[in-house]
Amino acid sequence: MAKIKKHSIFIDMTAMSDVTVLLLTFFMLTSTFLPQEPVRVTAPASVMEIKVPEYNVMNILVDLQGKIFLNIDRPEVRMEALEKMSEEYGVTLNDRQKKVFMEQPFIGVPMNRLPAFLDLPLREQDEAMRQHGIPSDSINNQFIGWIQKAREIDNEMKITLKADQSTPYPLIESVMKDLVKIKANRYSLVTVLKGAPEGF
């Protein structure tokens, strides 16, 4: 019997590994983590192709019931706005509560409930926030307060408004009216892209 020479099949994976590391680097660098939104909304579609501004943005989120949540992207502005708001509403927060506030991407509770809310464990906060929203009625309009404070700190901040497509118009209208009241006449509506029709 002839001796069968044993050949071990060895596929060199080094090149493959190089490629995957490159891809991995690409994805890690390009990925931007969006702040987790307390409520899930479906933005309406439009043909506009302007992208959401990347920096120095206030994002107003309106859910189906008209509850308002606010995200201020720059941490220093958010901190200052919090200090001004807590001064105005006579709320005192300790350092731990402030730290938790900075970790939570969205603002969405009335000022008087803020300390208790920040003491909750993180995973219960989302649920609690969903039930509140920033009050924006005519007697107690903290929503205007937040926006005004943030604009006092930086007047160049852009405002974007994101709402669910099936939100009844009166709820949106009240938000728009509030913005006009504080002379924030220019803002952007967040939409998702739908292809423009041919020939336009």
């Binding site: 994976m13 590994s17 995957t20 994805f27 969006l34 439009s46 974007t160 009844p168 006009v180 006449n185």
Partner: protein, 221 residues
């Protein structure tokens, strides 16, 4: 590639023994693939778009400063329930309110061949639409030679023409946010430069009710 030649260091008898040290990269690739999958799933490649709007200030401005609009070139859209749009042309006189036929109903249909909102706007704004189309063609031909500023400047000129269509959007209480965005979107598509979001008036509500009742309201009066 992944093998390190250690050489035959112990030469004792006869031929030297060669040993190669191979590193198996397969688990490394597996792990990388998993990480790539993770990053691909969590990244949002499509960033949402924004639509810039400028709302009118709530302060009264002097008549002399108020923008001049030709009444005959105005169209008022009343956004209603169930994706319905009611519209009337120009400014209505006292007497016109009793006539329910001044108000017409349409849909957000994007089909240009039927009587959707888009076909109405395109027809009324034909001149501006054609000019914008020419301008876009010109830009496509010239390529980089036409700067963004020049393009914006000229499109503003076309849209701001005195004879260009003016659209007044009045969303009613039973419309939703999508209706508003759809209406604003049509402004973009149909090259309407002058449009405004305005509150509904009692007169408008009367018109819609009268239209739905086929004139029954005005005959009672």
């Amino acid at each position: 590639m992944a093998n390190i030649d250690t050489g035959g260091d112990e030469v004792k008898k006869g031929k030297p023994k060669q040993e190669t040290l191979r590193v198996d990269f397969t688990p490394m690739v597996d792990m990388n693939m998993l990480l790539i999958t993770f990053f691909m799933l969590v990244t949002t490649l499509s960033k949402p778009q924004v639509m810039d709007i400028a709302m009118p200030s709530d302060q009264k401005i002097e008549d002399a400063l108020a923008p001049k609009v030709k009444e005959s070139r105005a169209i008022t859209l009343l956004l209603g329930e169930d994706d319905k749009v009611y519209y009337y042309l120009g400014k209505l006189d006292e007497s016109a309110y009793s006539d329910y036929t001044v108000l017409k109903e349409t849909t957000y249909s994007s089909n240009t061949s039927n009587e959707g909102l888009r076909s109405i706007l395109l027809e009324r704004n034909a001149e501006a639409v054609n000019q914008m189309r020419d301008l876009k063609l010109e830009r496509a031909e010239k390529g980089n030679r036409m700067s963004e500023e020049e393009f914006n400047e000229r499109s503003r000129e076309i849209k701001g023409d005195v004879d260009a269509l003016t659209v007044i959007i009045k969303p009613m209480a039973n419309s939703n946010y999508k209706n508003l965005v759809d209406a604003l979107d049509e402004m973009q598509i149909c090259s309407v430069g002058k449009y405004a979001i305005v509150d509904v008036t009692e007169g408008d509500l009367f018109l819609v009710e009268n239209y739905k009742a086929q004139g029954a309201y005005s005959s009672v009066k």
